[in-house]
């Protein structure tokens, strides 16, 4: 006999609980290692190892004061690292440290239970930092494991293998999936970011800024992260028409263009030609108060307004992925009646700098007959003279930068051409400004979405002609038409194309298309499911958005329905096998006798019943005996003829 002694059993139980709790904590904490300070993960791991040594090597536990000391140290360490105890990062760090410290005093069901619940919460906190598909996929087995840990902590069973407990929890979790889906679709969505928490990740976004300095756009050309995705609802314009407008920069100072401070509402006159373009944008967070739109949007989406520059401005910076629908005209001119006092700010130039450029501009102004001719002169200069479109323009520093670029180096990226062109126009007395945004984009053949990446960032110009208004002019197109027609990679000199992996291998590009399409679907259908999409979904299924009573009822009915369905499945699985023919006929026989006032008791055996019937109705004794003995033969001896039994029961007439 090697019975387990109670003390041993308790220790074994405690170790099982500890191991499961640690496993659940490990899988929940692991993704946090990507964004939390390394010492926090390290400290948690050390505490966990120490706890294991206590359980397996018999190391002593710390006393209460030491534990309190460690707790205080955790607070201090987190404060020293994040300079706050508030906010998502410090909060998660603190939670992780305290949860592992909790294991130091964990004893019995309650403490491990608490640690596990905290571990689940730490798991949810992962989604504060990352809402991508890989994390979501990672969390499925993680939650499964944590639930199994809950099972094994709450109901430890030495006879149950890990595999069976995993199967058990899978069976428990599966019926929860449809309920989760119903809650996901129907539970009221609150507008705005989750819990109003501003997440630290947004501070490190690559993208446009409200200024354009000589290297701000060429820097973006190194990044192939997605800026936004577009789904055209009407026929897509040609590639050379795909100018995605972000901001208009009016002020030039010290080589840098900036937005200025005037953002008055739009009351410009707009002249459009041709058909309008309808499309839906999925904008990645850009941390700006600007939504991008195809040149030129005519109506602002909800909660945004159009400025006089036809930029879409929001009230809050875009810190979350945002979906909006816009209508644009690609063939347009606007602002023909802009008063001269407003136009004056698009003529302003800093004093003194770049004398050669100014001289050239004045020369054009004197010789050309019209402002249009001046524009043509400038574009011809870019086209005819040996200007190079390049990511390596060389250092253009100090004063007279535009002069150096125009007359000496002749090398520049789109911001240099736009900048120099607008400078020349202003010097020639033609109102002009820089527009920044994106140009082009690539179609993902898998889902038809246009993907515009950071390396599609672009800068161009708009000039004002009396009577016509503002007209788009892209000097880069004059230097290198391929930039607009085919994209950056085709326009840059060989050897300068950013060496992305994907460009070198076609099949890798294909893989990227698939990944982008999957990601886009995830963004469109899962992450973007906020109040707007929910409203659309409600209208689609015929629900009244905003009628919370109706919604509560629908939720109740659906979840109740799912529970009933699960119950029915369980019932069906444990259902009794259908009665055999003999049993059906015997029940019929019993019903016939019951009509004569001789009902069979449920616990009465057939032989006893026959005896009782024969006693009270001697004239029935013979047929009852025959039927009963055949029934016993059929049911309990596995012999006899069902047909004969059926015939006997049919012929049985107790009432006559």
């Amino acid at each position: 006999m090697n019975a387990v002694r109670p003390a041993d059993f308790d220790a074994h139980l405690e170790r099982t609980r500890l191991l499961w709790t640690l496993a659940a904590m490990l899988v929940m904490i692991l993704p946090h290692a990507l964004h939390l300070a390394p010492w926090i993960i390290l400290a948690a791991a050390l505490v966990a190892l120490w706890r294991l040594a206590v359980a397996y090597r018999g190391w002593p536990l710390f006393n209460r004061f030491t534990r309190i000391g460690f707790g205080l140290l955790a607070f201090l360490g987190v404060f020293a690292t994040y300079h706050t105890l508030n906010g998502p990062e410090a909060g998660t760090a603190l939670l992780i440290l305290l949860a592992t410290l909790k294991l130091m005093e964990a004893r019995g069901l309650r403490d491990y239970f608490l640690a596990l619940v905290i571990a689940l919460f730490i798991g949810i906190a992962n989604f504060l930092y990352d809402q991508s598909i890989p994390l979501a996929i990672y969390m499925i087995p993680a939650v499964w494991l944590a639930t199994t840990a809950l099972l094994n902590v709450a109901h430890p069973d030495t006879s149950r293998t890990t595999l069976t407990s995993l199967k058990t929890t899978a069976r428990m979790l599966l019926p929860a999936l449809p309920i989760a889906l119903v809650l996901f679709l129907l539970f009221p969505r609150i507008p705005g970011p989750l819990w109003g928490v501003t997440l630290p990740q947004n501070s490190a976004i690559t993208g446009l800024s409200t200024q354009m300095s000589p290297d701000s756009i060429s820097r973006l050309a190194q990044s192939d992260t997605i800026a936004f995705q577009v789904k055209f609802l009407s026929p897509a314009p040609s590639r050379s028409q795909l100018y995605w407008r972000a901001m208009v920069l009016h002020d030039y100072n010290d080589g840098t263009w900036s937005i200025g401070n005037a953002l008055w509402p739009n009351n410009e006159t707009l002249v459009t030609h041709g058909a309008s373009v309808h499309y839906e944008m999925t904008l990645e967070p850009n941390n700006l108060r600007v939504l991008y739109a195809l040149d030129l949007p005519v109506r602002a989406p909800k909660n945004t307004y159009l400025t006089a520059d036809y930029a879409l401005v929001t009230q809050q910076p875009v810190t979350e992925r945002r979906l909006y629908a816009v209508t644009s005209y690609t063939n347009y001119s606007y602002g023909a009646d802009t008063p001269s006092w407003i136009l004056r700010r698009d003529l302003r130039l800093p004093q003194g700098d770049d004398p050669r450029a100014r001289r050239l501009a004045r020369q054009w102004q004197a010789t050309a007959g019209s402002p249009e001719q001046v524009v043509q002169d400038a574009l011809r200069m870019f086209h005819v003279q040996p200007f190079v479109y390049t990511l390596q323009p060389g250092v253009l520093a100090g004063p007279n930068r535009i002069d150096k670029f125009l007359f000496d180096t002749h090398r520049g990226f789109c911001e240099h051409y736009a900048s120099a062109f607008v400078f020349l126009m202003r010097a020639a007395g033609i109102p002009a400004h820089v527009v920044i945004g994106y140009q082009g984009g690539s179609v993902n053949p898998l889902d038809g979405y246009y993907i515009v990446r950071q390396d599609d960032a672009h800068a161009w110009a708009e000039v004002w002609f009396a009577g016509r208004g503002w007209v788009r002019v892209d000097p880069t197109a004059a230097v290198d038409p391929a930039r607009v027609e085919e994209g950056l990679a085709a326009a840059l000199p060989a050897g300068e194309v950013p060496g992305y992996f994907f460009r070198s291998h076609p099949w890798l590009g294909n893989m990227r298309n698939i990944w982008d399409a999957v990601n886009n679907g995830w963004n469109q259908w899962v992450l973007a499911y906020g109040p707007e999409l929910q409203k659309r979904f409600f209208t689609h299924v015929g629900l009244d958005y905003g009628n919370w009573l109706q919604l509560a009822l629908v939720l109740l009915v659906l979840i109740g329905g799912i529970l009933v369905l699960v119950w029915l499945v369980l019932l069906w699985r444990h259902r009794a096998p259908p009665p055999t023919a003999a049993v059906r006929d015997y029940r019929r026989f019993c019903r016939k006798l019951a009509k004569c006032g001789l009902a069979r008791q449920p616990h009465e055996g057939p032989l006893d019943y026959a005896k009782r019937v024969s006693c009270s109705r001697p004239h029935l004794a013979e047929p009852v005996h025959a039927i009963t003995s055949l029934y016993v033969e059929l049911r309990y001896n596995g012999m006899g003829s069902t047909r004969e039994f059926n015939r006997l029961v049919r012929a049985f007439r107790p009432q006559q």
Binding site: H603, G605, P606, L607, V632, E633, R635, Y636, N637, M639
Partner: protein, 321 residues
């Protein structure tokens, strides 16, 4: 022993044996008047190879029943009177030094018999009780490191007084479980008692009894009983009964799988004695009180019903599927 040459079991004519068993019951009923059901249950218990516990107050014929069965079945018979000073060696025997052979020789105890009557088993100390119960379970005894098998067949009929009597050591549940059946005899009926008072001396009648079966025939009956058809329908019923005892809140613990197997075997033996070709629900119902009465205990909160009432309620609560 009347027949030393073992007869192959298969060649024995089973219907004739069943008839002989019927004669055993009939003749025993001449000695123990008005207790045919208990006699039949006892015989079913022995046929299915289990040990029998008879529990009742003194003087209702417990010992007489055991002796009657021993005689009628033609088994070698030993009686052990359990007392508070009984030692294990008094039951299983001991090695005693012999001068002639200059060595120890094993003197087998009274346990080495085919049918052992352990009279008033709850009067002995737990130590003596467990010697008996171990022998019952293992069907062999080990003395001085030598294992000696007990004769075949080996039955124990134990009698005991109800537990509340003075100077008794009640058998614990784990040991009660070793008995396939526990029956009680109860007072005889009015007419039976009158016959008893008018009739001849029981002891004389007992000595006049001739064996109606022998050991081989008993083993053949057992083999036949175990071959009796048990349908799925009956197993459904058996499991429903067992499940009820496990799920109903009134029982401290439900029936064990061992109890379920015991139920099946006892029902088979009963069906054989009844001349059935398969086991009917009535067969199960007949043996149920004897088989489960001593294995089920009600929770303390329930008023203590007699085990007969408990099993009757159990029977009535479970419908036959």
């Amino acid at each position: 022993m009347p027949n030393d040459q073992p007869i192959p079991i298969r060649e024995l004519p089973i219907p004739a044996l069943v008839q002989k068993a019927g004669r055993v019951i009939a003749e025993a009923s001449q000695i123990i008047l008005g207790k045919e059901v208990q006699i039949r249950l006892s015989l079913a218990c022995l046929i299915s190879g289990g040990h029998l516990l008879i529990e009742d107050i003194p003087g209702v014929g417990k010992t007489t029943l055991a002796q009657t069965l021993a005689r009628l079945l033609g088994l070698s018979y030993q009686r052990i009177q359990f007392t508070s000073d009984l030692l294990p060696a008094d039951i299983i025997g001991a090695s005693i030094y012999e001068r002639q052979s200059d060595g120890f020789r094993f003197h087998p105890g009274p346990i080495f018999a085919q049918l052992v009557l352990a009279d008033e088993v709850n009067r002995a100390t737990p130590k003596a009780q467990s010697a008996l119960l171990e022998a019952m379970e293992e069907r062999q005894v080990t003395v001085d490191g030598v294992t000696r098998p007990l004769p075949q067949p080996f039955f124990v009929i134990a009698t005991q007084n109800p537990m509340h009597q003075v100077g008794t050591f009640p058998l614990p549940e784990s040991q009660l479980d070793r008995f396939l059946m526990r029956i009680d005899l109860g007072y005889p009926g009015e007419q039976a008692e009158r016959d008893l008072l008018r009739g001849r001396n029981r002891r004389e009648l007992l000595h006049a009894l001739q064996a109606a079966l022998n050991a081989q025939e008993l083993l053949a009956l057992r083999a036949a009983a175990f071959k009796l058809h048990v349908s799925d329908a009956l197993l459904d019923y058996l499991q429903a009964v067992v499940r009820y005892t496990r799920e109903a809140p009134r029982f401290e613990a439900g029936l064990s799988p061992r109890a379920a197997i015991a139920l099946k075997h006892a029902a088979q033996a009963w069906a054989l004695l009844m001349g059935h070709t398969g086991v009917a629900p009535e067969d199960l119902q007949a043996v149920l009180p004897g088989v489960v009465g001593h294995r089920l205990r009600l929770k303390a909160t329930h008023e203590s019903n007699s085990s007969a009432a408990v099993t009757r309620e159990l029977l009535e609560a479970v419908p036959i599927p």
